[in-house]
Each structure stands twice: as C-alpha cells, then as structure tokens.
Symmetry: C2
Subunit: 336 residues, 2 copies
C-alpha cells in the first residue's frame, strides 16, 4: 500500500498546503474557519475582533534584516492588519532545544520585544517547552497568536476584488526568500540584500482610515505574489492581469532566481502588501504608501478584469502572456 506522507511542499503555502487545510476543514469546519483569511474575523459581544496564529521555523534563526523573533511579531501583526484590524495583544510560545545557549534565546526575546514595541502590540501571555537537542529544527521554534480590533466599516477580504479595480504592491518582491536561501545555501550573492521583514499595521491603518476604496489586502508571504494574487482572483471569481515590467525585483533577487530556476513571483515576502483598490482611489493609495517608510517603492502592477475569471495572467516584458499558477510550494522550505 502506498501511504501518503508529508513533504516539504505541504509547508509551502501553495496547493500542497491546501491538502492539509482541506483535512482541517473537513473535521473542524465552521463559518469563521471557512473564511480562510489571514485571521479569523469574530464577534465578541458586539466588538469585531480578528484572531490569528503562526508558527515560525525559519532556518537560519538570524539573517540579514531580521531574525526569528522579529519575523514572529511582524508576520502575526501583518496577518491581523491585512484583515482590516488593529493588532492589540500577542502571545509568545517558545519550543527550545536542550543545549540552546541562553544568550541566543535572550537575543531572540530582545528582538521580539523591539518588534512588538515598534508595532505597538503587547505580548501578554506565553509558554515554554523544551525538547531534545536537534528536535526543534536545530535551535528553536516560535509560535505567536494575536488578537486585534477590526476597524469599523472595513472589509478587506480577498473576495472583494471586482473588474475595474487596480492592484498595488508596496515594493520590491522576493527580498525575504532570496535572503534566506542565500544564507542557507551560501550562494555568496553580492552583499547588501536583506529581508524586508516589517510590521505593516501602521501603513494599513493609514490606508483604512483615509481611503474608502480599499477592497482587498493580502501579504504575499509563502507562495509569494503569485499565491496572493491567485487567492484574490479565486475568492473574488475575477481575473487579474499584471504587467511584468511594472513589478519591481532587485537585481540580486533576479540573479538568484535565474541561477536557481525560481520565479520571483513565487518567493516569500515578509514586509509587503498587495492592495486591491477602486480605480479612483489608486492615486491616494500610492501616495499614502510611498509616504510610509515600508512602502516607498509602491507601484501599480495591474488590474482586475472580467476576462478569465479566477485566473491571474502576466503580460511579460517580451509582450507575451502567461498564466500565473498557484505555486505547489516545494521550492523553499523553512522560509518563515
């Protein structure tokens, strides 16, 4: 009998991960879970809240631009923000290996503290477990969960995109994923590249409190820009058309992708947002984003169309068109 087993692809955030989500939905399904957003949107005595969780297993633990502590805060803060909520409270759960140096743990906790302070969230509860040496990835894993309060009247669901809307990305893509693979595989790419890991809650708050035309928000983490756009197109039952020439990819990211056969569209980002907005609000969206330190290089990359529903199409620099598929997920394990 051929028994089905977990592979690294199942952690990649693409179609393979969906197989696990399907099992979870089969057994646990309820209206809140079935939204499948970055956070669950819930009602608590009339207050709209968002609730999310993420585990972080990134290898290496420290990398240019950040570390597992910073990413554990920013990733979870962003999951709350993308659902149109203000992150308030966070939990911190540590799975540590025997033999881990206290000094390293202290550096990680200091980084959690600094990122939480910057994002304006309080770490209010936690847990510590210890496992045998080598049994927590080679150092430590972190889980964070967070609770936020929804901004009133805001709905940023991936199902809201409609033909005529425009698509903005808040900067270059692929920086995080290529930084990690560069560290891990010792590619020795030209120095200077670092992860974009950042908390985007302030940027999102500025957008949601000033621009009425925001339709959908998503952070293109695992599975990259491709997965985020496929999610939006699928949930909105609309087509999306993007232009390759508009998408900003750093030279060293492009070089690494060429070398390794990766598509920059599939590479994880940890400090970027995909914003779908009405056509008449796009100028204001771009202005607000470019005025924010984490959105300086924001750019309009395409639009939502009535053709090819549920499908993302890329107009290539060469003038051709190709379909952008939901990545399966195997190319970069332990990226966050």
């Amino acid at each position: 009998m051929n028994r089905k087993i977990i592979t690294s692809a199942h952690g990649g955030g693409g179609t393979a991960t969906k197989e696990i989500i399907d099992i979870a939905r089969e057994y646990l399904g309820n209206p809140a879970l079935d939204q499948l957003g970055d956070s669950a949107l819930l009602d608590l005595d009339g207050t709209g809240i968002a609730f999310t969780t993420d585990s972080y297993v990134i290898d290496p633990i420290f990398f240019p631009g950040g570390d597992i502590g910073k990413i554990a805060v920013c990733g979870t803060v962003n999951d709350i923000a993308m659902e149109g909520a203000k992150p308030l409270y966070m939990s911190l759960s540590l799975i540590l290996e025997e033999g881990l140096e206290f000094e390293l743990l202290e550096r990680v906790i200091a980084s959690v503290a600094s990122a939480a302070r910057e994002a304006g969230v309080l770490v209010v509860t936690g847990d510590t477990k210890v496992v045998e040496h080598g049994r927590a990835g080679g150092g430590l894993f972190i889980n964070t969960a967070a609770v936020g309060r929804r901004y009133e009247g805001c709905d940023t669901s991936v199902s809201n995109a409609a033909p005529g809307d425009l698509v903005v990305v808040t900067g270059t893509i692929g920086d995080h994923g290529v930084t990690i693979i560069n560290e891990r595989e010792e590619l020795e790419l030209e120095s200077g590249l670092k992860s974009d890991v950042a908390a985007l809650n302030t940027l999102v708050e500025e957008l949601l409190t000033s621009v009425p035309g925001i339709k959908s928000l998503r952070d293109p983490t695992r599975g990259g820009l491709a997965a985020a756009l496929c999610d939006i197109a699928g949930a909105s039952k609309a087509g999306i058309e993007i232009e390759e020439v508009k998408i900003k990819v750093k030279r060293e990211v492009k070089a690494a992708c060429d070398l390794l056969g990766f598509d920059p569209l599939n590479i994880a980002n940890e400090g970027k947002a995909v914003i779908v907005c009405s056509e008449d609000s796009a100028d204001e969206v771009l202005k607000i984003c470019r005025d924010n330190e984490f959105g300086r290089e924001s750019v309009l990359i395409g639009s939502v169309v009535s053709e090819h529903p549920e499908t993302v199409v890329l107009r290539t620099t060469m003038g051709g068109k190709r379909i952008v598929d939901m990545p399966r997920g195997e190319n970069l394990p332990r990226i966050c």
Copy 2:
C-alpha cells in the same frame, strides 16, 4: 567561559522555567503579562477577555486516554477556564515533519475536532509548517491559543487565597505523568492506567455560576500539585497546609513513583483542578465537583493558614510535617 544553556528542566514548569519567564518579563513586561496567570486577562472595549497559548511537544503522540490533539485542546481550554473565563475561540498551528503519514495527521486532527466539540469551542484559525524529518520531535508539534470571555464578577487569581479558606482537588493526582512515563520507558505497569486529560470548562462554569466563595483556581499540570499549591501560597502570601492521607493517588501511580524516585505531588495532571474556596462554600463545591463526570473523586486536602506564609506544608501519613518545594522541573520532559 561557562555559557549557560537550556536543559530539559527549563521546560518543566518549575523554578528552572521561571528563569526563562524572568528573561521574558525583563524585555516584554507589561501589567497583563506580569499577572503570570494561566491566561492573560484583558479588556476589549469593555468586555473582559482571557487569552492564552500553549505548545504541545508530548512524546508519545498517542497514549492511553488521549493524544497530542486532545491534550492541545483540553490544556488550552483549561488555561482559559482556570482564569474564570468561558473558552470561545481557538487557533491550531501544526509543525509537521517530512515523512509524517497523512493518516496519522488525520487522526490527530479528528481528535482535536472531537475534543473541541466536547468543550464547546470553535477552532477558527490555523497554520501549517513543515520541517525536516526528525526535526519536530519525531512527528509533530501543536500550538493552540484561545480567547475566552470572563464570567462577570469572577476573580479566580492565585493571589486570592486567605487564611481559613479550604483546598479541594478534583480527583487522583499523577495519572497523566505516570501514563506517559509508563509508555515511554516501557515500565509495563499493570494495565488500566490512563491519562486524565479532560476539558474542565463545564465544571468551572458550574462552580462559578453557583458558588460565590471560589477564591482561586489552578490546574496542576507541569510541576504537579506541588507547583500549583506553591504558586497559590506565593501569590497569596499565605501558608497552605495539606494532609497526605487525604490526597488520592492510584496504586499504580504510587508504585511507579516509588520505583522511579518521583514524588506524586510533582507529577503532571491534565484534567484536574485545584480549588481554593471559603470554608462555608466547601460543601457545595464538593457536591458540584462530585456530580460532574470529571470531578467524581474530588476531595478536601487541606487549608490556607496564617502560619508559614508563602510555604506549603504537608502533614505526612506518619504524622510528621515536611515542606513542599516548588519542583525544579527536570524529571519528566515532554509530558505535554
């Protein structure tokens, strides 16, 4: 230079774990975190909520009486309940190893679903990560976080015990920890022993809505009854005196502890509560507990005293007295 490293004791829930909590408090400290309860108690637009997290690294994954999925739900539900709140929403984050069988994962998720349904909580959000074979303990780790609503006017903090109050335990102690060590070390104890893992939120709700005299609640998990009582005595700045003859320990648990040199007071439980209540409410507390399927063997084990503040004293069966220390935490790693 002698560098300090993490040892299994740091995961034991005793004094060694406190060293890590101290680092966390140094960097992250805020009034909610500093309560150091099983959950953080927070205010959200006038609604009192409880928020908690726990990671589960138990080895083996399946054991008599339960599995990692059931314990991940019950443990987190109990952390919310012990703080005087009703668990509502839960997150489920999986860290899976490459090579894990889908069938095993499905059994665990089915167990999560069944335990959540029984406890009346909804799993509303989740995450999946995959790491290399052997790098998630030898199978999988689970993190759950939960949000609950506080019962109005209830304060079950460990700091509320006062001289004259009585101490109730809802059944036999040590069943969970000894079940796990029996499985892991193949002690081949007489069959029939199983983990007590259970969600106690219904029992707690019955108590809090019927008896006004509940002072403190705590579930004696890692560190066992000793750690729970030391926490209460310490936080309340009161003494606690308990009687060995009153404490129920199953024969096979006692035998295993004798064999291995463990103290049953230090062994983890996963379906028990320690209840401190006013003297005049003790009869009603015992009645409610004994009428509940998870409290049939509830028993009064001692009282809060004005002597020896912050110290727990055991009157032994032989008529002597000994101090019950906060365990350091090394004897049973990966117990939950």
